[in-house]
């Protein structure tokens, strides 16, 4: 059985924004990987309403991240999902640097991923009461297998996959990840099946 969390049912306007840290981290990654000129280029091409002047503490339309990712995909001739997954991977490392307390006493990738919904999202909401977070339902159908059902108003299953993989790499556990996008839109649902080797 899935444990359901009450994250859905709101109007699209309400979920159309993201925390600024996602934008600043994304641009950090682009600058680090492709250089400042690429950052400037994709902002110029995407021409977001905010003008690309992001601060980690601000809140910006979700649309702008999609525009920036689209511009980066075009500029690098790389599929957008790959870019977003890479960003998720990058973001996990940044989380680890920024919030070491969340990792204390958590000894495995499974343990960390299981704590996302009940521990990490709870902490995030304390800091950002208006944060729009995805929800995860968990299932353990067999020993060594963890099923995570992702639901979000944002089409960012790729970001989630990147984060999951970043986590697995961080802990160095040998785990395979199988992904199944479920049909339908808003909320977007994706089923990740993680199997220990």
């Amino acid at each position: 059985m899935y444990r359901r969390t009450p994250a859905f049912g709101r109007a699209p306007e309400a979920w159309s924004s993201m925390k600024g840290i996602v934008f600043t981290e994304f641009l950090e990654m682009v600058e680090h990987r492709f250089g400042l000129a690429m950052v400037d280029r994709i902002i110029e091409e995407a021409a977001p309403d905010s003008g690309g002047a992001y601060t980690a503490v601000g809140t910006y339309p979700c649309r702008e991240l999609l525009q920036l990712v689209g511009a980066l995909a075009a500029a690098t001739a790389t599929p957008a999902p790959r870019l977003v997954q890479a960003f998720g991977h990058h973001l996990f490392g940044r989380f680890h640097e920024a919030y070491p307390a969340l990792f204390e006493g958590v000894g495995s990738a499974f343990a960390f991923l299981l704590s996302v919904e009940q521990v990490i999202h709870v902490e995030v909401r304390k800091l950002y009461p208006d944060a729009e977070l995805p929800s995860f339902d968990y299932e353990t159908p067999a020993s060594g297998t963890l099923v995570m059902l992702y639901r979000s108003h944002h089409p960012f299953a790729d970001l989630a996959e990147g984060l999951i993989r970043g986590c697995i790499e961080h802990y160095g556990n040998p785990i395979d990840v199988a992904r199944q996008d479920l049909p339908g839109r808003a909320p977007f649902s994706t089923r990740f099946t993680l199997t220990a080797r």
Partner: protein
């Protein structure tokens, strides 16, 4: 997916030199805008934090105030709980029964005293009706509904079925709407009190030595006999009798022999009369006989002759034949007098004539014996003159607490010394003054002078003593008396609590309702009230406690029996116990011997008065006593050198 999997930077993304400057400018602008928006956000958040902080401070203050309120409420509750504990303990340990009922009179709580009274456990009593056997009638419930209060006597029942009288006080507790929510009933077991009253009545109406009726009972029966005689038209005779040479027996053979002789005489007298007649001992060797429903004087004369014959026969006491005789005076109703007082007086005159005529004789009263009666008129004139010419004076007898040596109060006593030097004893004129109305002026004179004197007395370690003044039965019934007392207190400046008025039982019960109103007003002034000569009259403590008295003076007739009359001592003990329970002070009068003082002290009687402790003394001597030369003066007065 790893970062390495991302494509390598392409040349198309790199800017030219000129482009690079523009790029940096754009980037700078973005950073600047980002900084400004971060600052604006910071400003907004700061204000929000400030507002939130203010709200928190306000909430904190409210919380503090609420906390203070809560703390004081907790303290009040604790105090209330402490009070409750104290009251509960008081109710649990009091000797009086306490019963709580619901508005229907069903018992919901009792204290251990009540369990003890009725010999039943609390669990048995709860749920029962209040005084189910004694039957509080409709009057009680009506009174409770109207005034919320009731006091009176009810019958209760013990487990063994025996019923007993209780003096009960019931108060209603009301809820917010004013309706009775509970009744609290405080009850006192009156069994011992009633028994003691019976004993007191026996003592009050019978002579303990001879078991004959005493003066009080004789007078009561005489009154009844005269009423009956008025209806039947038959004759009633009163005989006064005393023994010839009785003093010689006392002097030569001692008082115990005298007492045995009196017992024998009493027995012989009783054998000479019919069962409907009354032989009484008036005191000493004086006896009276009441003969009722006589057909003629001859019946009484026959009795007189039998009596003289019976008494003149020798009596063997301790092996000694003792011979005494009897002299008698006889008077008839309605021929010789038509009131009790006059019958007494004329019988006494006839007895006097009999003794004048020689021993062992009787005399019938004769009008010619009234030669000295003119004195009655002249006594009125003399009292009036004494008041005008200042022949009255006051002497003061201390009432002391022998254990501490403290002088509790001082009784003012009236003395009359005529200008001729002759002293007239109160017994010789007070009764007459009461009859002719002059007593009111005498009472006023005594009050005024006693209060003025008390103002001159020096306060000792325990303050200046109270002054006790006797108030006559006539004054006690006067509605103007409280006003008069108030004006005397004002004139003399004496504090009301330093004045104590002594009244007699007979004064109280003659006209109880009127007297009670007067006494209530006197007590309301702050003046004390004590009951004088207790034990010589009606002697019902439960009845007398309805009057606002604070003190009882045990009559000297009890005190003089100490040491030779065990039943009397038992009565003294129970009187003291009862007065203590009723919250009354007791003063024993007539202490003349150390043994009497010791006995009374042992019985817990603290206050005493009598020649042994201090004779009546002039004011100057009293002041010396109060001034500190206490022992010296008491010694003088005890030896009688200054009386």
């Amino acid at each position: 997916m790893k970062r390495d999997e991302l494509p390598a930077p392409t040349a198309s993304a790199a800017a030219t030199g000129g482009d690079e400057l523009a790029l940096l400018q754009r980037q700078l602008q973005r950073e600047r805008r980002a900084r400004k928006s971060a600052e604006a956000l910071l400003e907004t958040k700061s204000r929000e934090v400030y507002a939130a902080n203010q709200r928190l401070l306000g909430l904190n203050a409210e919380l503090g105030a609420a906390n203070d309120g809560l703390r004081s409420e907790v303290e009040l509750r604790r105090q209330a709980e402490r009070h409750l504990t104290i009251y509960a303990e008081a109710v649990r340990s009091t000797g009086e029964a306490v019963i709580v009922t619901d508005p229907q009179g069903t018992i919901i709580e009792v204290n251990p005293a009540y369990e003890h009274f009725v010999g039943r456990a609390r669990e048995e009593l709860i749920g029962q009706r209040l005084y189910a056997d004694g039957g509080p009638d409709a009057t009680l419930w009506n009174a409770l509904r109207e005034s919320g209060h009731w006091t009176g006597e009810l019958l209760d029942r013990r487990r063994n079925g025996e019923s007993f009288p209780s003096w009960v006080l019931i108060n209603a507790l009301r809820d917010d709407s004013g309706a009775a929510s509970h009744y609290v009933c405080v009850a006192r077991d009156m069994t011992a009190l009633k028994q003691s009253e019976q004993q007191l009545k026996r003592l009050a109406f019978y002579d303990t030595l001879t078991q004959l009726p005493n003066r009080a009972l004789f007078n009561d029966r005489l009154g009844i006999a005269l009423e009956a005689a008025r209806r039947s038209g038959k004759l009633t005779a009163v005989a006064y009798l005393d023994l010839d040479r009785f003093k010689d027996v006392n002097d030569t053979l001692g008082h115990p022999a005298g007492d045995r002789l009196l017992v024998e005489v009493a027995d012989r007298l009783s054998r000479c009369v019919r069962s409907c007649d009354t032989v009484a001992r008036m005191g000493g060797d004086e006896f009276t006989i009441l003969m009722t429903q006589l057909d003629g004087q001859a019946d009484a004369i026959a009795v007189a002759e039998r009596v003289i014959d019976a008494v003149s026969r020798p009596v063997s006491i301790g092996g000694h034949p003792v011979c005494v005789g009897a002299s008698m005076g006889l008077v008839f109703f309605p021929e010789d007098a038509d009131t009790s007082d006059e019958l007494h007086r004329r019988a006494d005159i006839a007895l006097y004539e009999a003794k004048q005529g020689g021993r062992s004789q009787y005399r019938l009263f004769d009008a010619s014996m009234l030669g000295k009666d003119g004195e009655r008129m002249s006594l009125t004139v003399m009292i009036d003159a004494a008041l005008k010419q200042g022949e009255f004076r006051l002497v003061y007898q201390p009432i002391v607490c022998p254990a501490s040596g403290r002088i509790d109060s001082v009784e003012a006593l009236l003395r009359w010394q005529r200008s001729t030097g002759e002293t007239v004893a109160p017994g010789q004129f007070i009764r007459h003054a009461e009859e002719c109305g002059l007593i009111r002026r005498i009472d006023c004179w005594v009050l005024e002078n006693a209060c003025a004197a008390a103002m001159r007395w020096q306060a000792g370690a325990h303050g200046a003593p109270r002054v006790c003044v006797n108030l006559s039965a006539v004054s006690v019934q006067q509605t103007a008396m409280p006003r008069l007392i108030a004006s005397i207190l004002e004139r003399t400046g004496l504090a009301p609590d330093r004045l104590e008025l002594e009244i007699t039982e007979t004064a109280v019960i003659a006209n109880p309702e009127a007297v009670r109103r007067v006494l209530d007003e006197i007590v309301a002034l702050g003046v004390g009230l004590s009951l004088d000569d207790f034990g010589t009259g009606y002697s019902s403590l439960s009845y007398l406690t309805r009057f606002p008295i604070q003190c009882v003076k045990l009559d000297r007739s009890f005190v003089e029996r100490i040491g030779n009359d065990a039943p009397c001592e038992e009565v003294i003990r129970s009187v003291l116990e009862l007065t203590r329970k009723l919250g009354l002070r007791v003063i024993a009068e007539g202490i003349e011997q150390p043994a009497q003082q010791e006995f009374l002290a042992r019985m817990g009687c603290e206050l005493m008065q009598g020649f042994y402790l201090g004779r009546p003394m002039p004011e100057a001597q009293l002041q010396a006593l109060l001034g500190g030369r206490h022992a010296e003066v008491l010694e003088c007065t005890a030896t009688g050198s200054t009386s």
